[in-house]
């Protein structure tokens, strides 16, 4: 199916999420902090990045800006995963360069359709 990079520090989340996505046939690359995420993205060139915004070492906002600022990685769609549900988050996230937004807790079927949509965009690009 597709190579997905999941940047997530909470073990339970990356664990079940990666396993469920793998069950759907996706190839999952994992990074547990922001810097690792950037490194991995540059090295592996995933098709979609699922990016937690609340990360150690380098936060999700910086990761998004860094990747979108790098021509080599700027085309990779990023879906932000966030626990923030307060007003204005969505706008801030899109402004940081993310392509889509998924509020935790994860609604798995919705997330799948968002990944599909991102892949479509990416494929078109």
């Amino acid at each position: 199916m597709a190579r997905l990079l999941l940047v997530e520090d909470t073990e339970e989340i990356w664990d079940f999420l990666s396993r469920r996505l793998a069950r759907r046939g996706h190839e999952i690359l994992l990074a547990h902090d922001g810097e690792g995420g950037v490194r991995m993205a540059r090295a592996e060139r995933p098709e979609v990045i699922l990016l937690d915004m609340n990360l150690p070492v380098m936060d999700g906002w910086t990761v998004a800006r860094t990747l979108k600022g790098d021509p080599q990685t700027s085309v990779i769609p990023i879906i932000a995963l966030t626990a923030h549900a307060l007003s204005g988050d969505r706008e801030k996230i899109l402004a940081a360069g993310c392509d889509d937004y998924h509020a935790k807790p994860v609604d798995f079927s919705r997330l799948l359709s968002q990944i599909d949509a991102a892949l479509g965009t990416g494929a078109a690009a």
């Binding site: 909470t10 339970e12 989340i13 079940f16 999420l17 396993r19 469920r20 069950r23 609340n54 626990a83 923030h84 549900a85 307060l86 007003s87 935790k104 807790p105 994860v106 798995f108």
Partner: protein, 1075 residues
């Protein structure tokens, strides 16, 4: 009796007259009145008269010094003047008789009455020239003559020539001069000469007028110098070249000093053509005469100076600005000055003696007379204050004093009194006292102290308020500035001094806020405001100011600021907490839900082997999702409360949204075995709103219904009308009581506690639904009956009126149009009564128990009227009133004071709109509240009064009642104001003539537009009944101006404004034709 009736000689026996005519000495027949009937030729020769000169003339007039009151009176003259039927004979009397030419001669006289039946009566006077009898006899006669001349009351200008004449004749001299000694000029001045000026022989002395001699100069000067009789003569006078010496041209001069003891008052100089022998007898007798003259002159001078003093005193009394008067020693009035008569309009005969009582006020006259008589009797100064009636019939107040005037021996001779008009002063005093009292009350009530600081005197005058603020002992003594400054907090002191110095330099205002440290160490906040100005009637400048305690307000402010900070802090903490919780709670929940779903998938993969635990996994997932929804609900509410919930408007189709929700809740309905009916008519169309929130509302209502209608029916019906969409959710559940319905939308509450146990839930759903409905400008309503099920209706506008986002809906609703009255009273019973009474009248009432709460509520609700009790603990009604009136936002709310005691004056002066006393007259309360509720601006009042102060007071009174005021001094000005601006009320002084009130009233009556303007006539109490009656038809009311009649005037003005407000008065200008 006229002369023609006087009996003549014809009536007498011819033989008698013939015999009289034959006699060699003078005989005169006089009638019973002493008038000459016949004088024989010898008599006529002696006197130098013709018979017709004397007939009918009183013989007494021929006798020198014939004054009956004088001690030196001639016996003969007295006898003739007072002749009675039984007149006695006077066998011998030495008299001086006048000749026709003005000279006189000593005569030996006798009088013999005629006691027959003679109708003429009277008697016979005989007289013989005694001038040529012996020298000793001459001198004796001369002394008698001088004595008589001097003994009378006549003035020196009459006496001196006669004296000189007698002396010259007695001593055989031809001329005489009287030299008056002026001690001031140290000169002898000619005062009188003889012969008289018109005498041809007198030319020599006539020219002496204006001559003066020095001491030792001439014969008179030497007599002055030596004090002795001086003579010179027998040859041509030595040193006669002195032109001032009258002795020039005479052979002989004799100077007699007129003296009293050693004091020389003048010199008599007698001049003769031949020397007179100045023997010892003559010298003695001249000396004696000189002393007599001296005594006479002294007496006259004393009398003269007394007379002058009296005249000066009268002139002084006459010209005093007061009414003045004099009374004799018994207190009977003898004299009043012109002003008295002008003021009282009386005549002397009305008021002299004791008649003055008629112009006293009847209420005072008895007291005044009593104290006056008591002072007279005691010889003490009298002082009284009382009204006196003027000629216009009005009384004015006078301060009256009388002082006794003593004679030389210290006896009270008479009384001198004054009446000083103090009406203006009294009025001014009364005003000043009233103003001062008002100010003191106001200061006291407002707890404000006042002070003044005379910089150059280094002293502060401070009242009680000031002292108590600084915790200084009460007292009158001035404070030293150091005492004041020492109490100012050291940190604030430099600023205080700098501000005061600045104000002092610029003579401007200052406004200080500083801390005071009392001796006990307590810190208080104070505000001092005032102005530095030049002192009147003194040098230097001083600061005048007030000061009040700000501690309580400061404390409140500090508390408020602290509370606000704490609240903001708490709110920040809550926001932070919510943000954290959203992350911290959702992350583990994400994991729980995620693993549960993962396991469910894996169980599914296992096929039948997994079925045993697939159900359990579903329960874990369901519970986790439930927990998530609860957390979301709490977060949503927090957002709403924090004002952070936003409305996200979009336009969408209604039907798809409803169907989506139905799909979501269908499994829930199925689970509860509830039949779910959807009633969606075609053509619901689209709406502009927040779809997410509508979805949430519908979900809440439907899942709620599903829970309660377990096993029953739930119907969702959607209806669209012109501007709304209504979503109606009906269940056949247990229903609710009205009480439960009332609490339904409150947060965290369910219909009852048992419900929670039975049905679960937090009660958040309905609260959120209600909040969302409000945000979307819609409503959610409930209809329910216990046991019969419930219907919730959510109505939302198709498009919200307020485009864009809206802030949170405020919690408390602003009061609607319904009028609110605030009642402040500490007595619960009274509060209840007032509330019920006013509520019955259709007013909504808020009642509070104390002043501070009352003030706070007043600021919140801005009531249309306030009923305020005076007697309350802590902050009393006066203080509340003062605070209300001091607050710009509240000052115009009418305040009706309610009290046990009458203190109307104070209430009005502090700005109360009305005043009621307990027990309450409910009828009056109603009218008072009605009046102040609908307080329309009363209109324009015209004040016509000549006294500027009164005018100003009236204007203030009217302005206090909400009137606009136009002021004029007289009718003329009033008319032009009327033509220009019109008026809705006229106050006119009907008493002062300069105002011309009657002219004004006449013009008002004649002008149709003005005829109906209500007029209040003002008097000062001096109106007579006639004028009063005349006025009654022309004005609405006649009111006396004065402190005590203020209420009447106020009441009348208020009645007029009520009439105007209710349209009963036709007083408007330009109203349709009033005839």
């Amino acid at each position: 009796m006229s002369r023609s009736e006087t009996p003549t000689v014809d009536d007498m026996d011819q033989t008698v007259t013939s015999s009289l005519d034959a006699l060699g000495f003078g005989v005169c027949r006089v009638d019973r009145s002493g008038r000459c009937i016949h004088i024989n030729p010898a008599g006529l020769a002696l006197l130098g008269f013709e018979p017709e000169d004397l007939r009918g003339r009183s013989f007494a007039n021929l006798v020198l010094r014939a004054d009956p009151q004088s001690t030196g009176t001639s016996d003969l003259a007295s006898l003739l003047r007072a002749m009675r039927a039984d007149v006695r004979a006077l066998p011998h009397s030495t008299e001086i008789l006048w000749r026709r030419d003005g000279s006189s001669f000593p005569a030996a006289c006798s009088f013999w009455p005629i006691r027959t039946e003679d109708p003429v009566g009277g008697g016979v006077v005989t007289f013989v020239d005694a001038g040529h009898q012996g020298a000793a006899q001459d001198r004796l006669t001369l002394q008698v003559a001088v004595n008589r001349i001097l003994a009378g009351m006549d003035e020196p200008e009459d006496v001196l020539p006669r004296l000189l004449s007698a002396l010259c004749q007695g001593l055989g001299c031809r001329a005489g001069v009287f030299w008056n000694l002026s001690h001031r000029e140290r000169r002898l001045n000619v005062e009188a000469t003889w012969p008289a000026v018109d005498d041809p022989d007198g030319r020599s002395v006539q020219q002496l007028d204006g001559r003066t001699l020095g001491r030792g100069q001439g014969v008179p000067g030497r007599a002055w110098e030596s004090g002795e009789v001086v003579s010179q003569g027998g040859e041509a006078c030595p040193g006669s070249t002195d032109r001032d010496d009258p002795a020039v041209g005479f052979e002989f001069a004799l100077a007699i000093p007129a003296r009293v003891g050693r004091r020389i008052l003048g010199v008599v100089e007698l001049l003769a053509d031949a020397p007179v022998a100045l023997d010892d007898d003559l010298r003695q007798s001249a000396t004696a005469i000189g002393q007599q003259i001296g005594q006479y002159l002294r007496r006259k001078r004393v009398e003269e100076s007394l007379r002058q003093r009296e005249e000066e005193f009268r002139a002084f009394a006459e010209n005093l600005p007061q009414l003045t008067w004099m009374a004799d020693a018994t207190g009977a009035m003898e004299w009043f000055n012109r002003r008295w008569y002008d003021y009282t309009g009386t005549l002397p005969e009305d008021v002299l003696g004791w008649g003055w009582r008629s112009v006293q006020h009847p209420d005072h006259v008895a007291r005044i007379e009593a104290t006056y008589r008591a002072s007279i009797d005691a010889g003490m100064v009298w002082e009284e204050t009382f009204p006196l009636r003027g000629k216009d019939g009005r009384y004015r107040w006078f301060l009256s004093r009388a002082v006794p005037l003593l004679d030389d021996e210290g006896r009270i001779e008479r009384w001198f009194g004054t009446n000083t008009d103090i009406t203006g002063q009294r009025r001014a005093e009364a005003r000043a006292i009233a103003a001062e009292r008002r100010l003191r009350f106001a200061l006291q009530v407002a707890r404000v102290g006042s002070w003044s600081w005379a910089f150059d005197e280094d002293a502060i005058e401070a009242d009680e308020g000031f002292r108590s603020l600084l915790d200084l002992p009460a007292g009158e003594a001035r404070l030293s500035p150091k005492e004041f400054l020492d109490h100012i907090h050291p940190e604030d002191l430099p600023a205080v001094i700098a501000t005061l110095d600045g104000a002092r330099d610029s003579q401007g205002e200052f406004d200080l806020e500083f801390r005071i440290v009392t001796d006990a160490g307590e810190v208080r906040w104070a505000v001092a405001r005032g102005v530095v100005e030049r002192r009147s009637f003194a040098r230097g400048v001083h600061a005048l100011g007030i000061i009040w305690d700000l501690t309580e307000r400061k404390r409140h402010e500090e508390d408020l600021a602290a509370a606000k900070n704490a609240a903001e802090e708490a709110n920040r903490a809550k926001s932070q907490f919510i943000a954290n919780m959203s992350h911290e709670l959702r992350t583990p929940l994400s994991a729980i839900i995620g693993y549960a779903e993962l396991l469910e998938e894996e169980a599914e993969d296992l096929g039948p082997a997994g079925e045993s635990f697939a159900d359990d996994l579903a329960k874990i997932e369901g519970s986790a999702r439930h927990l998530l929804s609860l957390i979301n609900g709490v977060l949503d509410l927090s957002k709403i409360e924090a004002g952070k919930m936003e409305v996200d408007l979009e336009t969408f189709e209604v039907a798809p949204l409803v169907l989506e929700v139905c799909d979501t809740v269908a499994p829930l309905m199925a689970k509860k075995a509830t039949r779910f009916v959807q009633d969606l008519p075609p053509g619901l169309g689209s709406m502009r709103s927040d779809a997410v929130k509508i979805r949430q509302c519908l979900f809440n209502l439907l899942s709620n219904a599903a829970k309660f209608a377990e096993g029953g029916d739930v119907t969702l019906a959607v209806r669209r009308d012109s501007d709304q969409i209504a979503f109606e959710v009906t269940d056949t559940g247990i229903g609710m009581t009205p009480d439960q319905q009332a609490r339904l939308f409150q947060r965290f509450t369910q219909a009852d506690v048992s419900t929670t146990r039975r049905f679960g839930g937090t009660g958040l759903g309905l609260a959120l639904t209600k909040a969302f409905a409000d945000m979307l400008e819609g409503t959610v309503q409930v209809r329910s009956e216990e046991g019969q099920g419930t219907t919730f209706t959510l109505s939302l506008p198709i498009a919200p009126r307020h485009s864009g986002e809206r802030g949170p809906v405020p919690e408390s609703q602003a009061p609607d149009g319904n009028e609110q009255v605030l009642v402040i009273d500490d007595d619960p019973h009274m509060r209840d009564l007032l509330t019920r009474f006013l509520a019955r009248d259709g007013l909504s009432v808020v009642a509070v128990a104390d002043g501070e709460t009352g003030l706070a509520r007043a600021r919140e609700m801005r009531p249309s009227a306030i009923l305020l009790d005076v007697m309350m603990p802590r902050m009393d009604g006066w203080a509340v009133l003062a605070a209300l009136k001091a607050d710009e936002m509240l000052a115009d709310i009418p305040v009706i004071m309610i009290s046990m005691v009458r203190e109307k004056g104070l209430a009005y002066s502090l700005g109360a709109a009305d005043y009621l006393t307990k027990p309450i007259d409910w009828q009056r309360l109603k009218s008072v509240v009605d009046r102040h509720r609908c307080q329309a601006a009363p209109g324009l009042a015209l004040v016509v009064e000549s006294d500027a102060t009164t005018r100003e007071e009236l204007a203030m009174l009217l302005q206090g009642e909400g009137w606009r005021v136009s002021e004029t001094a007289d009718a003329g000005a009033a008319l032009s104001r009327l033509r220009q601006d019109g008026a809705d009320l006229i106050l006119v002084n009907v008493e002062m003539p300069e105002v011309g009130a009657f002219d004004l009233l006449r013009d008002l009556r004649r002008t149709p537009d003005w005829r109906h303007i209500p007029v209040i006539g003002l008097t000062e109490g001096g109106l007579d009944p006639g004028e009063r009656a005349r006025l009654r038809d022309q004005v609405r009311q006649v009111v006396r101006i004065g402190e005590d009649s203020l209420d009447d005037l106020l009441a009348e003005i208020q009645r007029i404004s009520v009439d105007r407000a209710s349209g009963r008065s036709g007083g408007n200008l330009g109203g349709p034709g009033h005839g």
